[in-house]
């Protein structure tokens, strides 16, 4: 057996060369200490409890040395049967289930669900409600990307951006709390409108937030974008080509990093997205680094959209004027009997949707989020289905990591931006 030689980059007794770098030292290793392991595969189990799997994801890896031969994801550890629960709840009662799916961008899920049911019922929400929902969705896109950038950097070994980004994230938590009363489980939409209108001073607080956010993004940019380790860990890692990306059903930043400019906001605009001035960043190489660049740019574009939405925010009612779905005002409720009965019927019996179905896809922070509601004319859905972007993005993970190194699995998995609440549902 040939003697193996290992070259240590950092010498045991580091002496610096003329270029200021440590001088490499070659250390011969006796043959009997290093048995030939070639051809012996090893099974490695990552998770379900592991800080780098971003939830209760379990990956079973077959390794040859450090090379991943096979990667088999196991999911379902967080399965809560939301879709089944939905069949026992009336249309408005499902809203709290939606934000527990993607707890990193709860408002997007609230809005997407309400939109699909409104489409099924043929309800057109008010202009103010449309703009408020656009604000909610873009705010939570930033909310989710901030967490993604922070935790991904931490997985790869950079701790500082995490602290910077979570400070900003905390401000969005405060905005959530002011708007909905909750920080994560917002449940803010109702069929035909919102739980409540924007509280006084909220838009000013949001403006202040989006004025300050670019500075933090610039700081993170300085810390990461040209950092040698960051680029080394991300460039040409987890590569997936455009054709494969479409075939595997990738969406969102993961797809656009591969060079496909599919964005639901542009391709099937909803809520007047076609009238907002924003760009869809598209990558070239389909690697982790491009996914990072795309998400960073998406945050800046979301700030643009937020600014435009705040400028155009119209006055007027936030809820539709449709007594079938909207509760009467509290004053009316206390004052007259008819409103009381009306309130009772909407709460106890729910709202009947017409027979039919609706599959509505929107652009969430993770990718295309599809909400499929099927009604038989009752106050509860026959079937409520969520096409979760993380679920399908994760299914492409084996394709991206097989044949690569073990350490790339962590970087690739982090770059996909998954949330297990929605994968397991």
């Amino acid at each position: 057996m040939a003697t193996k030689k290992v070259e240590y980059v950092v010498a045991r007794n580091p002496g610096l060369g003329t270029d200021g770098n440590p001088v490499p030292v070659t250390v011969p290793i006796p043959a009997e200490l290093e048995p030939q392991m070639q051809g012996e595969h090893m099974l490695i189990n990552i998770g379900p409890q592991h800080p780098a799997t971003h939830g209760v994801l379990r990956l079973v890896l077959e390794l040859d040395g450090e090379t991943v031969i096979r990667c088999i994801p196991h999911i379902g550890y967080l399965h809560s049967s939301f879709e089944k629960l939905g069949e026992y709840r009336n249309w408005n009662q499902i809203v709290p289930l939606t934000d527990r799916m993607d707890y990193l961008a709860p408002l997007i899920y609230n809005c997407a669900y309400a939109m699909s049911v409104e489409k099924l019922m043929g309800i057109e929400v008010t202009e103010r409600c449309k703009v408020v929902r656009v604000i909610c969705m873009e705010l939570d896109r930033i909310f989710s990307h901030l967490l993604w950038a922070g935790t991904t950097a931490m997985d790869i070994g950079a701790f500082t951006p995490f602290l910077y980004l979570f400070q900003e994230r905390e401000r969005i938590y405060d905005l959530h709390e002011a708007l909905t009363g909750a920080r994560i489980t917002t449940s803010s939409t109702r069929i035909g409108g919102m739980m409540a209108d924007l509280p006084p001073g909220w838009t000013a607080a949001l403006r202040k937030f989006i004025e300050n956010l670019p500075r933090t993004l610039d700081e993170v940019d300085t810390l990461l974008t040209n950092h040698q380790i960051w680029r080394g860990r991300n460039e040409n890692v987890g590569v997936i080509g455009a054709e494969d990306a479409v075939n595997y059903g990738l969406t969102g930043a993961n797809l656009r990093a591969s060079g496909v400019d599919y964005d639901v906001r542009k391709d099937r605009p909803y809520y007047d997205y076609e009238t907002y001035d924003f760009e869809v960043p598209v990558g070239e190489n389909g690697d982790c680094y491009d996914r990072y660049l795309v998400r960073m740019e998406e945050m800046r574009q979301s700030i643009n959209i937020l600014r435009q939405a705040l400028d155009r925010l119209p006055d007027g009612p936030i809820n539709v004027d449709d007594p079938r779905v909207i509760l009467p005002g509290k004053t009316d409720l206390m004052a007259d009997m008819e409103s009381m009965i009306h309130h009772f019927k909407v709460v106890m019996e729910g709202v009947n949707a017409p027979v039919g179905e609706s599959w509505l896809g929107i652009e969430s922070s993770k990718g295309e989020l599809g909400m499929y509601v099927v009604s038989d004319g009752g106050s509860k859905p026959v079937r409520w289905r969520v096409r979760g972007p993380s679920f399908i993005n994760l299914s492409a993970l084996p394709k991206m990591v097989e044949g690569r190194l073990l350490s790339d699995v962590i970087a690739t998995n982090a770059s996909l931006d998954i949330v297990l609440g929605e994968i397991d549902r």
Binding site: E40, H41, M42, L43, V60, E62, R70, I72, H74, I75, G76, H79, S81, E83, K84, L85, E87, Y88, K119, L120, G122, V246, N247, Y248, G249, V260, Y262, D267, R268, M348, P354, V355, G356, E357, S358, W359, G361, E368, G370, Y372, V374, S375, D376, G377, G378, K380, V382, R383, R385, R387, F391, I392, S395, A396, K399, D424, R425
Partner: protein, 262 residues
């Protein structure tokens, strides 16, 4: 109201109410104006059962179950269609013994078009051709439908449960005859969960990786493998319960059977 809380607990034990017979799969209006629908009718004739529009602009084509894979293949590859992106694949159970529907939601990046395809499967023949080779998205989506509805996809290379554990024995949860709390009692469910073994956490395929463990702990040296479970594990007793029956031979917890303990 006699029983004011009846509504809240309705269906918890029996599964949700089946929708009214006439409402199942209805509600659309006749589809016109979608280029793919016309092309499909021309190309496949009798295999296109009907075409309807839901919620204003969602075109949906019902096709023959036997020819679904062929039709989907054509929709993906024909130059005038090019539905290269499978947005969603799922199923619907309307309950009451009525057939299940498998739903394909397609998007064409070339022509910027959306189309829904539905295949109706009677309960006694829940089998359909897999589209794994057309869109790899369907890998996990078909596994999910298999897991939650029990529909078998012919030709899927790795059709096993995905959300529920591999040893789940209560059936397919999203079927209407499946009660919300499951078919087994809580005690039985707990007992099953606690009695999971290594084989239940890994697929048989994965267990062959790495060959026979040479210096394995007791967890790995299990029945059917070299050595079987070690004597130490076999004869373990549980002092908390006080019995001297080894764990592996203990009878089920009284009242833990499927029919009791609700």
């Amino acid at each position: 109201m006699d029983k004011p809380f009846e509504k809240a607990v309705q269906g918890l034990e029996t599964g949700p109410e089946a929708s009214t017979p006439e409402a199942a799969g209805q509600g659309g209006v006749e589809s016109t104006g979608h280029p793919s629908v016309a092309a499909l009718r021309e190309k496949f004739g009798a295999a296109i059962l009907k075409a309807v529009v839901f919620s204003g602009d969602e075109h949906c084509v019902y096709v023959d179950a036997e020819r679904s894979a062929e039709i989907l293949h054509w929709l993906r590859d024909d130059a005038s269609q090019r539905y290269d992106y499978l947005q969603d694949l799922t199923a619907i159970d309307y309950g009451g013994g009525r057939p299940l529907e498998v739903v394909y939601q397609l998007w064409s990046n070339t022509h910027k078009r959306q189309l829904r395809l539905k295949v109706t499967l009677p309960l006694h023949a829940l089998e359909i051709d897999s589209v794994y080779d057309l869109w790899r998205t369907s890998d996990w989506l078909e596994r999910e439908v298999f897991d939650l509805f029990g529909i078998h996809f012919r030709g899927h290379p790795d059709l096993r449960r995905i959300l529920m554990p591999e040893n789940y024995a209560e059936g397919h949860p999203l079927r209407k005859d499946f009660p919300l709390r499951g078919r087994f009692s809580r005690a039985e469910q707990t007992r099953l969960a606690l009695s999971m073994r290594v084989e239940d956490y890994y697929t048989p395929d994965e267990l062959t990786i790495g060959g026979t463990p040479v210096a394995a702990g007791d967890g790995l040296a299990r029945e059917g493998r070299v050595g079987g479970p070690s004597e130490a594990v076999k004869n373990t007793t549980d002092p908390m319960i006080g019995g001297d029956i080894p764990i592996s031979q203990r009878a089920p917890v009284p009242g833990g059977e499927a029919t009791q303990g609700r």
